[in-house]
């Protein structure tokens, strides 16, 4: 079941002597919707996702946080001091580090997550194979996880998280290892999660984020400079050209193609490109 995600006035410093990595962030992500975080490198996108997954205290014990988080009915003052899996599950940017190395096949690798949860079913094929089919990697079920390409590994990593049916799915730059075909598949997968899983993802590929998100957060130096719908961002795209390369992404044909199935954006794109 999808959870609503509320972030209230969240600030974070990696240590008390360092400047704020996140500064007074407030976001409300409705249950079952998709929120994309975009922004330049070092803006705080991954940091925010790690805060939500509960890994910040483990990775940076000296970090100082203030504000509140609410995941469904659970509220946290500051940051959670434990990993929130499987309520909130984070897929890391580097797909290769997410392969455990302790299982021989992709199928077993996915099952490994259920074993960790103590939820391995009697007949795991009934759960795992449909998931692999949905992700388009069912043909890899018997392959060695460490022998896959970047895109395949990324989808295996995603499957290894999705099998736990998280209420909130956090994706750190999920398109970084994917070619355009694999991106299309991922886009379809994320769309299929709408309503059942709350998704929060960071991405540097703005066209991808715009195509699937219900809400966009534009971060710069740990501060939200824009929060709103993709349409609203598109209509104000030129205002943020110093933060993100608006001209280039607006001009890409792939962007137009990717949005062909999305309703409502076509006119705005044409307008932004000066076609109207």
């Amino acid at each position: 079941m999808a959870h609503r995600l509320i972030i209230e006035n969240l600030s974070l410093q990696y240590s008390s002597s360092e400047p704020k990595a996140l500064s007074s962030l407030s976001v409300d992500v409705p249950a079952g919707s998709c929120c994309a975080i975009i922004g330049p490198t070092g803006a705080g996108k991954s940091t925010l996702l790690h805060c939500l997954a509960g890994t910040m205290h483990r990775q940076h014990p000296e970090s100082v946080a203030s504000g509140r988080l609410q995941l469904g009915e659970t509220r946290f003052e500051g940051l959670p001091d434990h990993i929130l899996f499987p309520v909130a599950a984070l897929v890391l940017q580097d797909p290769y580090v997410q392969i455990s190395g302790v299982r021989d096949t992709v199928f077993e690798e996915i099952l490994f997550t259920l074993e960790n949860l103590g939820a391995a079913p009697q007949n795991p094929r009934k759960i795992i194979m449909p998931l692999l089919q949905r992700l388009g990697i069912d043909h890899l079920a018997n392959r060695k996880p460490t022998s896959l390409s970047g895109g395949e590994t990324q989808r295996v990593a995603l499957a290894a998280i999705l099998v736990a049916q998280p209420s909130i799915l956090l994706l750190d730059e999920p398109t970084s290892a994917l070619d355009s075909n694999a991106q299309d598949k991922l886009r379809a997968i994320l769309r299929s999660l709408r309503g059942t899983t709350t998704v929060m993802m960071s991405d540097t590929q703005i066209d991808f984020a715009l195509a699937i998100a219900d809400q966009i957060l534009l971060l710069d130096h740990g501060t939200i400079v824009f929060a709103g719908s993709p349409s609203a961002l598109l209509s104000r795209a030129r205002e943020y050209s110093s933060i993100i390369p608006v001209e280039s992404w607006l001009a890409t044909q792939s962007f137009l193609t990717s949005l062909q199935t999305s309703s409502g954006h076509q006119k705005l794109i044409s307008k932004a490109l000066g076609l109207q």
Partner: protein, 254 residues
């Protein structure tokens, strides 16, 4: 029943324990014999065959390196421990009997210790080892540390190779000789180790993010251990105990 089944994981662990006991209790001639037997076992016994061509190469390289190091240890000891009779004089350097014996003891012990551990790791699939340790109730955090360490050691040569290739592509003379390679290796050592540590931390985080540390004990995968494995393992442990008791007895009457 195939031979491999008689030397499954618990038996292999017991054998490694036995070899370690031998390394600290028996004479160097016996230890050298055991080392030779291990090398033969690597080819002859399926349970000790390397899992991949890469691990086979690693084992062969290790044999060459360890023999070189052993020779160095023996020569240095024979040269600098100047007691006992002179065995030989080469280019004005005299080699002494006591030093030679001490060097042989030290080198054979080190080789047996390292051969037995290496043989275990190159012939044991990591999933089997991790599954076994989990089934035995080892704390998940310790299993995670072991897993990350093994992965770190596994990835290090690959990273070194990649960096050498990158340096070669930039025209660095890494193939010019041993000195050039050593200099190149020294210059990349700290970033290499740091990068590998960072990757290990990320891998640990990724495993934690999949609930590895909160894994319930009741659901850990049972390792497939047969009665024969238990019996053979028990034999190895009894033999270890017997050797230890004999060594203590010999020490007491000496």
């Amino acid at each position: 029943m195939p031979v491999r089944a008689y030397l499954d994981l618990p038996s292999k662990l017991a054998l490694v324990f036995l070899l370690w006991v031998c390394a600290f209790t028996l004479s160097w001639t016996f230890q050298v014999s055991l080392c030779l037997l291990l090398v033969i076992a690597r080819f002859a016994i399926p349970a000790f065959r390397p899992l991949s061509p890469r691990s086979a190469t690693a084992f062969s390289k290790f044999i060459v390196y360890s023999i070189s190091v052993a020779l160095l240890v023996v020569c240095l000891n024979a040269l600098f421990i100047k007691t006992g009779g002179t065995i030989a004089t080469v280019l004005g350097f005299s080699f002494y009997e006591d030093g030679l014996l001490f060097g042989l003891k030290t080198a054979s012990r080190l080789i047996l210790l390292s051969f037995s551990v290496l043989m275990f790791f190159i012939s044991t699939p990591l999933p089997v080892l991790i599954g076994y340790l989990q089934e035995k109730g080892l704390p998940p955090s310790l299993v995670l540390v072991l897993l990350l360490t093994l992965h770190f050691l596994d990835q290090l040569p690959r990273r070194i190779h990649q960096i050498f290739l990158a340096q070669q592509a930039r025209g660095a003379p890494v193939d010019a000789g041993v000195i050039s390679r050593t200099k190149a290796l020294l210059s990349i050592l700290s970033p290499l180790v740091l990068a590998s540590i960072v990757e290990s931390i990320e891998r640990g985080t990724a495993l934690e993010l999949r609930g590895f540390l909160s894994r319930p004990a009741a659901d850990r995968i049972p390792a497939q251990i047969g009665k024969q494995d238990n019996l053979l393992g028990i034999c190895f442990y009894f033999l270890s105990l017997a050797i230890l008791l004999y060594s203590i007895y010999r020490w007491l009457i000496a």
